[in-house]
Each structure stands twice: as C-alpha cells, then as structure tokens.
Amino acid sequence: MAETLDLSMFVERGEAGAAHMTLALEGVACAGCIRKIESGLIKLPGVIDARLNFTQRRLAVDWRDDEINAARIIAAIEEIGYRAHPFAPERVDADDDAEAKRLLKCVAVAGFAAMNVMLLSVSIWAGNVSDMTQETRDLFHWLSALIALPAAAYAGQPFFHSALRAIRTRSLNMDVPISVGVTLALGLSVFETAAHATHAYFDSAIMLLFFLLCGRYLDLAMRRKTRLFAGNLASLKAEFAHRLEGSGELVRVPVAALHPGERLLVRPGERVPADGTVIGGSSAIDDSLVTGETLHRTVGAGATIYAGSINISGALTVRVTAAGVGTLVEEIEELLQKATAAKSRTVRLADRAARLYAPVVHAMAALTALGWLAAGASVHDAIVIAIAVLIITCPCAIALAIPAVQVVAAGSLFRSGVILNSGDAIERLAVVDTVVFDKTGTLTLPEPQIEDTADIDPDVLERAARLALSSRHPLAAALARAARERSPYPGAIEEPGQGVRAMIDGSEARLGSAGFCGVAEEAQGAAAPRGDASIITFVHAGKVARIAIRQALREDAAAVVSALRERGLRIMVLSGDRPEAVAPVAQALGVGDWRAGLTPTEKVAIIEELKSRSRGVLMVGDGLNDAPALAAAHVSLSPITATHLAQAHADAVFLGDRLDPVLRALLGARRARSLMLQNLALAAAYNALAVPIAVAGLITPLIAALAMSGSSLLVTLNALRARVRL
C-alpha cells in the first residue's frame, strides 16, 4: 500500500514558500560529517541553507516549498548515511536560551565592572598606606561609582527580580539578603564618598554579583545541556502513526499531530500510537507498558486500547479518542493532579538555609548598630559598621554552596547515564531509605528475550533466528536478535498471527505457533514448566525446536538490588502484573516484600503509606500505570524506554539496559548532599570568623574583598570533589 509522509507539524512556514525545519541527527561524530551533510543538502534544488550545529547534533534546513519537501530532505540525509528525526522545538528550550543569553550578558557586564573597579580599588588600598592625596582618592571613588552603579543596576536584575517575587509571595530566598546587601553596600559607598571617607565598598558589591552570576550561569548551562540531550533522545524515539484518510489513503504522521476522531491503522508488531477505540479488526494486545500485565489481552471492535501497548497479531483500525477519556486514563490523570500538588510542598535545602540565614544576619546588623549606639558611637558610625556587617555576611559562599555542588554532581551523573529533570532531585535522592521498583520494563528488560538455549542445536537456532528476521511479530524480534547472519531467507512469507515459512535448502521450514508448525500436542507439555514464558516453535527437515521467550531480568538487577540492601535500604516490588509472574522475579532478586495485581490507585496508596513511615521513598517505574506513583514518591527514576507520561513525572531518566544507574544515582546523590552540608558548614565557619571582626568595626574594604573571594573559592573547590567517577 502506498503511503505518504506528512511532516507539516514540524515545518515553520515563512514568506513566499520559504520553509524551515530542525532535525535531530544520529551518527554525526566527525569533522567530515559536517561538510558531507551540509554540502550534500545544499546541492539539492530548492534547498536554500543547511547548517549543522555540531554541539547540539541538530541540523537547521531552509528550503523553498515549491521545489522540495521535508520528506525528500530526510530521505536525502539518509542517502548520505545519517538518520534524521524531525524535531519540534519546545517553548522551554527557547525560554532557556533567552535566559542563558541574558545571564551571560550580565556576567560580562559584572566582570567588566569588577575588573575596572578592582583596578581603582587596589590603587586606593596602596595609596592609603603611602602618599595618595584625598582629592585623588575621591576621584577614584567617584570613578568606581560611575562604573559600579550602572553595572549593578543592569547585572543585578536577576537577583532583584527574584527577591521581589519572593517577597511578594511572603517567603524568603537567598536573593533577598543578596539584594539587600548589594543595595546597602552601594548606597553606603556613595554616601561615604560624598563625605570624603577613606573606605568605600563598590568593589565588594560588584564582585559579589560577578561570582554569583557565574554560579547561576553554570547552573543553567548544565540544565540546558541535559535538556538538549533529552530533547534529541525524545525526537529519536518519536513515533509515527498510520492515519487513514477519508479517501482510504494511508498517511504516515508524527504521533504529536494526531487529533481525536481520526482513524488509524495499527499493524501487527507496531506500538499503539494513541489512546483510542477499536472500530475494526481483532488482535491480541501486549499491555505491559501500560498496566504491567505481561499476559496478552484479546481485543475486538469496541475495546479501548492505550498508547504504548503493542499490537501482536492482527491489524486494527482505531478511532483516536481525546486524552483523558477512558477509565484508566481518567483515573491516572486524577491521581497525578493530587500527587503533583502534594510534591510542591517539599522545601529545598537552599531555601531552608535562606529562611534561617536572612533573619539572623539582618537581626545581627540591627543589634550591632544598637550596640554601638549604646556604647556611645555616633549614628553615622553605628550605621556604617552595621552595613559592614551586612556586606561581610552577604551570602556569597552560602549562595554558591549548594548550586556549585548541584552543577558538578549533575554533570557527573549525566556522564554515567542519568539525566536529571529537576535540580533538587539530588537532595531528595540522598535521603532515600526505601526503594520501590516496578517489575515489567523496570526490573525486567522492556523487550522479551530468548530463554536459555543450551539444549537447542546452535545450527537449528541460527536457522530459526534468520527466519525470524522476516517476521514483524514482537516475539520473533527477540529471536531475530540472536541471528548471526543478518540477511533474511529469500522468499519468506509471513502469515499474520500465525508464523513465517520459507524454503531452506530445498525443504520447508516453519516458525510460529505450535499449530502453524503442526506439532500442537507436544508443545502444550513443553510450555508448562515456566508459567510466563511464550513458546515459539520451529520445524525444519523433521527437527522440532521450541524456543522459550520471556521478560528477562536486567542483567545486573540482582547485583544492584543486593547492593542497595547492603546499604541499608528497604526494597519493595509493586507490580500491576499477575502474582504468578511477579513471584519468580521477586524470588530471583531475594525481595520478600512484593505485591502483584495492583491498580495505579493501590500503588499510590502503598507509596503514601511508606512515605508516612520513612524519610524518603524512591520509586523506579516505567509504565503509564506507574506515573501517579512516580509523582507521589519523594523522588522517582524512569528508564529511557518508559512511557512519555512516566518520564514527565520522574525526577531523572536513566539510559541503557542495565539497572546500575539507579545505584550510581543514589550513591552520587548521597555524596553530593554531604558535600552540600560541608559547604554550608564552611560558609558558616567563615561567617563565624568574619562577623566578630565586622561587629567590632575593624572591617576595611580590603579585608572584605579577601574574605569574600576566599570563601567563595573554598566552597567552589570543595564542590569540585563531587566530580569523581561514580
């Protein structure tokens, strides 16, 4: 059947037939690739420009619509030797890009101002102990003001805006004491300069802004990098659906472009692209990604099917229903709303520190002023000393203490295959004492694997595997992975829902259900011993082989679970699958605490109950039915193969076929948290040393500058220790 590819949702239209599209590329690795792709595309008639961003592995193409179309361009890239996936830029990305640019400008302005003010300040400090006249010093102070005031007004905006937002919602964050400190330091300095004083704090204020902006930019850059990577992965995974047009024509469209009411064709072996109602055909459906159930469900006209299920045997015609319709989805949506609302109540470590810190330093400054007044100092002196206390306590080190560790630890986790969705996930991961696993797709591999094949003749297995290459059946795909020779047998014919047959060496070979191979009676007995395995039968030249295929545990699942248990964590398995399927898995892992046949509501209830008894619950799951539990747990992880909804509600996503990123994430987070606490302690120790000097009125701008940069450097260097190989 002829089919056309409709990519219009990814294409941005300009004037006069101009079109633009962004593609995520696979396989770009070398210097030659850039030239090959760009010049190969520009040669095509109608292509105006092609520019590959090597850092992002994304290609921007402009073309004229009347001469070439998006599908042709993708085909051309494939001819050159790369796979291209259309990429729909998200709003968040654009916002992040703009934010990063704005921050970088602020960093540049603050850096320029800090360097020049410091140039003047060093001259003043040197002049104060030699022969500088008062006029020269005043000139230098006014020059510093001229640079520092506009620079702070510009570069301080990220802090001022955030502080204002916090105060409007009647809360405190670190930006409040920062803004107060910077504003007072600048105000005092102008006042003192006008009074021809020896000391002004322009350099302290602007340097503080520079350090903090650097920290903030690094934080954003790390988040952008992980989001970029996740965005590329998402478009690599993006799925297409076959839409049936009114005329009976079949059009391939990206899943995101589907609308309720449209009719889809879902062929055997394909994933169901959207929630819908079956209107024609009948088939068996593998719901394991949706409910965790590994037993196939038979569906016919009128049945509801969910996105993420796999169609096993027959072609289905499906009418797309609006999101949120259908009992399972409605239930999950409702649970998600409740769980997300509850989650926002956890308070981040940095905000907790800020809530404690801001009132203490502000009270201390006030007390200092009152103390000096009581001791007989003039109002001017008392206020100058109080503001010096605020400047010296201005939380440079404290504000860097946590983000610096977060940036380094997130980078370290990224390299070991864990992509964080939220910045504070590290803190929450570190206090976990209970780990809850889903079974299907989390402890087990998302795709079925062939079972131990020791008692099958390798030659027969190879022939069966090669024959399986010609089948679209999901179970056959597992068998096909075992084939050493990757070319299918010529003339192989698939009978949907039955099996494949081909002529091998002059005699017919059949692969498929026992009935199809004509060995029904024997096969029943062989299937019995392992409850949840499916059997594929292969017959050729009088030889019969039965190959068991089942959901296999991830290779290192048992090792990871026992390593977690050794570290004192409580392990639990919550599955939507049948008890007969869950029991052997739990037994293989040595987990006594397991429940099977759970609905999403029951999973959430168990998580809530665990939360009331422990410090932190980590949920690891991948299915649609896990999404509410992922949102309800303190912190959650999903494998990259998880459903979209599950990934959206997980705090981090891990890559690969192994489970050990879960362990690495936990250990890395624990280490990062202890470094965060160390950094807070360092910052507190610095304050304990510096504050008495400030209260005693002995602070000079030189001491303030040394103390501030010294403590910031110290916490930053300490944060770098999070960069160990996990």
């Binding site: 210097a31 850039i34 961003n53 850092t55 320029f112 020269t136």
Partner: protein, 54 residues
C-alpha cells in the same frame, strides 16, 4: 598625577572595548556551536589543489 587624566579614561576605554566585543560576539551567535567551530576549520577543500602542493 596629571598623567591620570588620560591614563584612567584610556584604561576604561580598553575595558569597554573588550566588553562590547564580547557582547557583539554573543549577539552574532559565536557561542552557539563551540564544538563545531573547533572542527569546521579542519577541512581544506576551499584551497585549490595547486596551492596545496606548494
């Protein structure tokens, strides 16, 4: 100390030039593909074969 009258403006002007140059490079998108820029200088097919031999 009269030397300051032109030294200080000169120092500031130099710094300001650096700042403006950075902001310009940021605006013209030079930081959008750092890895690509490092690699794009390697192909030498814009040089004609005769020049290569020399």
């Amino acid at each position: 100390m009269n030397v300051l009258i032109y030294l200080v403006p000169m120092a500031l002007l130099l710094g300001l030039t650096g700042l403006i140059a950075f902001l310009w490079s940021l605006k013209s998108g030079q930081y959008e593909d750092l890895d690509g820029a490092a690699i794009r200088i390697l192909p030498d097919d814009d040089i004609s074969p005769e020049n290569k031999r020399e």
